[in-house]
Amino acid sequence: MTKLQLSDVAAAPVPTLAHSDAPPAPPARRRRWLPFSPWHLVLIPLTFLLIVPLLWMLVTSLETEGEANRFPPVLLPERPRFENYSEAWAAAPFGHFFLNSALVTLVVLLSNLVVCSLAGYAFARIRFLGRGALFVTLMATLMVPFQVTMIPVFLIVKWFGDNVWAGLGIDHIGALMLPNLATAFGIFFLRQFFQTVPVELEEAARVDGTSRLGVLFKIVLPLSLPALSTLAALTVLTSWNDFLWPLIVITSHDQMTIPLGLSYFQGAHRVKWPLLMAANVMSLLPMLLVFVGAQRYFVQSVASTGLKG
């Protein structure tokens, strides 16, 4: 059946008197040779090709080892073997990995939101001695690649572990949180947004005697939820998938985060592909669900990484 789609109606040009002598809109839209837009014939294969690696991971995770080690490959397992998942789960402390990743991400996220909000607000609104120089100095760290700082940060974290609290030191998840509690990007990003909040709203409250902190938490932050969500999405993604830093500081299995734990699991089960793929699916699932659920904010976070800055 030929069904007119809403999108076609929206895209159809509105006829006006002024353009009556202009040629009519491209006729292809009306004379349809398919009951759906021909673009689907491009988009379906294209997006399928893009997610083939993920689909193949899923298929392999449900095969027996015999099926995986056959060539040409078995495209669909005879009977999905869900035991791969329970066996993978039992073969490494995945519970620890998930818990550690969740803890590290949560602490890093909350700390970034609070610390960057406070600093971003001060840089956006308060005139204080040395503000300009301080801002430039902090932003300069954005240009420094992590490889330059990682060796000294290793030494600093080791010092914290030896002198302050062992839980912050080498081979503890505290070491994964400590260097990432605030980022210059977060400050920059929130400052830019706070500057767009109408200052009159704040002045009214200030006149009524509300403190700077009160204004920030009662007026500015509630108006900045889109920006905070975008920063949150970026922080969660970066923190959850971080690999190099955990690789450097963590060696005990019970302190590993998911990417590091998965890498360790890979080393231990090198060619047991169904088991490896089951572990891979499990490790990807939380982030994929979060990503699909909050896609809008992830998309915004990419656009705001560079296009506005």
């Binding site: 999108s7 929206a10 988009l43 993920l54 005139r127 690649p145 490889q147 605030a182 993604l237 296009l307």
Partner: protein, 306 residues
Amino acid sequence: MPEDAPARRPFVVLRGLGRGESVTGWALVSPAVVLIGVFGLLPVLMSLQLSFQKSDLLTPETPWVGLENYRKLADDPVFVEAIKHTIIYTALFVPGTMLVGLFVAAALNRSVRFISVYRTAAYITMAVSTISQGIIFLWLTDRDYGLVNAALNAVGAPSQPFLASPSQALYVIVAMTIWGWTGFSVIVYLAALQGVPAELHEAAAIDGASAATRFRTITVPLLGPANLFLVVWLTINALQLFDEVYATTRGGPLRATTVIVYYLWDRAFVQFDAGYAAAMAYALFVVILVITAVQFRLARKHVHTS
């Protein structure tokens, strides 16, 4: 009394905004200053100091060696090789990711049914961790049982060793990371394409410009800022390639995929030669700064940012 109030209030506000605000300002920024100072700024200086020393990260003795570490860099065949691999990788990865991203974004830039499903499928590679990617591509390109070799055989081509081959491994990593960055580049390009005013296209179409001409003369120039952002951002990330190499080849076979950061990590945290690694990191830092500056300089001439 009521007449006095409006005159006094601005004064109160002014005083609030002026005197005493330095204390408030510094109080609000202090947590960030301490954290970024200790973990962002201090390490830059420590790293510079370390690059003039000999250090194994464990013993407290770190004797000064002057410029020795930097001099060693120039004579280190592995470092020279790593630079070569990094350059090849970057030169292929950056344009490759941009082309794929632009192509997919152009296909996704229309309003058909289920377009949000298609877009999600394209974006999703962004959420896949680098280690997961590595494991998936090891399996996809397996020389004996891999899906890619099955596809090659199906069209009559012979199986390839891919990541097991010194002459192919780096290119497989290029393809793999292009896939991993597709979601990112599609988002950037799609945002840019949606910013192209439809009226421009309509006007040009009425004047008889073909779709190809319109893309070249209207769309491409308006993509300038997106191109600049991607070139800079992807180059910075390409020069820092590590995870994907670690997850697949560990720099092999025969060091064919040993890139700068992989070698740096190996020197610092496997061979415990931290002073030398710090010198390498500083060399990388300078290279990134110079390349980024050159890219912005070139962009100022060629990119329209209005």
